[in-house]
Amino acid sequence: MPITTRRDILGTIASAALLGPLAADAAQHVHEEAAKSAVATGGVYKPKALTAHEFDTLKTLCEIILPGASKGGAAEFIDLLSSQNPEMLAIYTGGIAWLDEAMKHHHQTDFLSAKPEHRTELLDVLAYRKNRTDHTAAGIRFFDWARRMTVDAYYTSAAGMKEIGYSGNRAVREFKTPQEAIDYAIKRSPFA
């Protein structure tokens, strides 16, 4: 369980730190343990709130919004919160049904079975506020929710943190700012 692992980590920090500045390898250990404890439990996820069809549709949508989103558990995140909150659930069941209806209207099939180019055609409308009309407003609003939450899920996951290059949340012995980073910024600033 993450908590037990975290305790161990904290024990490492506390004992190492009490002796003085943290040893670099202890700090590294902390980092690795924290990362390990976060690895998903594995197995097939069973949706808690959405139907199988809704969940599969959401998963596909999340992956289109951010390639790699499934690695970040975006659909699972949304399903879990929806299972705890009827207001959230209504946004997603309503939004997914809207997508299906819109797709059926144009291409006689639901979103999940639609051809990739037909999905793109629809999402290219929904992804921008400027396309808001009486026909699209509900879909645009839903897409905004799905985008925000997919982005949140992905960048709060281990995969997303790594991709964006966040390398903190760990104990370090001494705080330093790399000179190359300072030089880089100054060179591009009005202070060059």
């Binding site: 951010l66 370090v172 880089y184 910024a185």
Partner: protein, 568 residues
Amino acid sequence: MFQITRGAPVYDVVIIGSGAGGGTVTKVLADKGINVALLEAGPGLNPEKDFKMLEWPYQVPHRGAGEGGASYFGKGRAFGFFSAHAGGWQLEGEPYTVAEGSKFNWFRSRIVGGRTNHYGRISLRYADYDLKPYSRDGIGSDWPISYEDIAPYYDKAEAFIGVTGSKEGIRSAPDGVFQKCPPPRVHEVLIKKASDKLGIPCIPNRLAVITQPTNGRPACHYCGQCGRGCIPASNYSSSQVQVFPAMKTGKVTLITNAMARELITNDEGKVTAVSYVDKLTRTEKQIKCRTVMLAASCCESTRLLLNSKGKGHENGLGNSSGTVGKYLTDNTGFGLGARIPALEGMPRHNNDGMGGAHLYMPWWLWDKKTDFPRGYHIEIGGGYNMPGIGSFAGVCRQHEGYGDSLKKAIYDDFGTHVSFAGRGEMIPNKDTFCEIDPNVVDKYGIPVLRFHYKWTDAEYKQVQHMEKTFTDLIETMGGTVVKNNRPVEDKISTGGDIIHEVGAIRMGDDPKTSPLNKYCQSNDVKNVFVADAAPFVSNPDKNPTLTIVALAWRTADYLAEEMRKGNV
């Protein structure tokens, strides 16, 4: 249900509240061998279990959005799920009211350590002139003490809790006993260059974070998460740095979940006991005392005095001046941020550092003429902060779209923003105060506070000055500020938002206009003292916690000496 245990102990001092003031008094008195009881309205604290230090968002199923995604609906925990506080802007069953036409937000944290578990750790001394504002500009009132009175206690406070900083010789930001501040981050280097150009001092920050082992506490490990609470106590919280160590003396009886209701007085008008509600059983209890130290926070201490009514003190205890609840102020607040193109594409690196900025800007126009009284200091933000819920909401809104282009926009945006926040001095005014609302009680039957709050031109002009300054700083760094045409009334923080409320039981030389004397002792009831921010006479442009600690230390020393002499 009313319980008084016969033969119950009489404590030398009952301290109400375990935050910065209560924690300090507890430690100082316990070290002198004085028997104290410490009442805390919240539960106990187990840092290892309760603090979320080094937890990743993905270790929590909701990632920090809260149960049911509360934060998406504006209902998440204040300062985010991982923050160490145990409270918020509203506490269930413990309301406060706001008078018509006023706006005020009151942050309370019910837990051992109070708000010090999560606060920003900014530790700034008041300047000599801050304590004599009336003498300087004819507005407000002077403190009954001078910088020389409090300076030795700043020394003690800084040495004991540990504060970073550097000797600068700037009058508005007196030097103290400092530990080394870590070097600036890249965006801070740029900010310093901009401020140098504009003639604004930008100096190593003064944070209650230790960068060398201090009193058995290990040095900071630079994870940047002070707000989550620090398990090895490398920053200051009264719980870990004062209350827990003080308990080892055997002189401290800590009573948690104890919500003080009323101070009980005898025929001579002295306080003999504190009546409190045991929240777990909702029963009323009394604890006997020789003296009482109010440290429940500025407004809670005020509420307690006003609710302690009796023969001869129908308007509340210690309130013969009628000024308890008056002179309430918060600091002004205004923030502005922008993207800085020079930071785009910079080689990624870990810049967590201390849980706060490594530089700050003290007020620099204290000897110049401005169109508003007093001043403000500037806090700065930016860097590669750990992504969390909502971190990229701004990019999503601006970029829209999806797929690889959205990913790239987010990647390019990460770590390129800087922000400035001003914290300035508000002048006490007659329209800003708190009082008991006769119509409302909390779930324990305790009458609640009603707030009246009004900013004046003095504060509005100050905030306009902040906006101009921050715009200049951003533009000097090559950023672009989005013009904001809203009126200044919308730009200034709401009263209480900055969580620097002070002044409602002020100290002074004249008992007719001040409830407390210059030792924070009640003029009316000699065995009542106040050790939070309520005694403050003004609210300078410096975060109040360090001064709470220093003043509480001074008050505790005075009380111990008075007890030794048999005066209380």
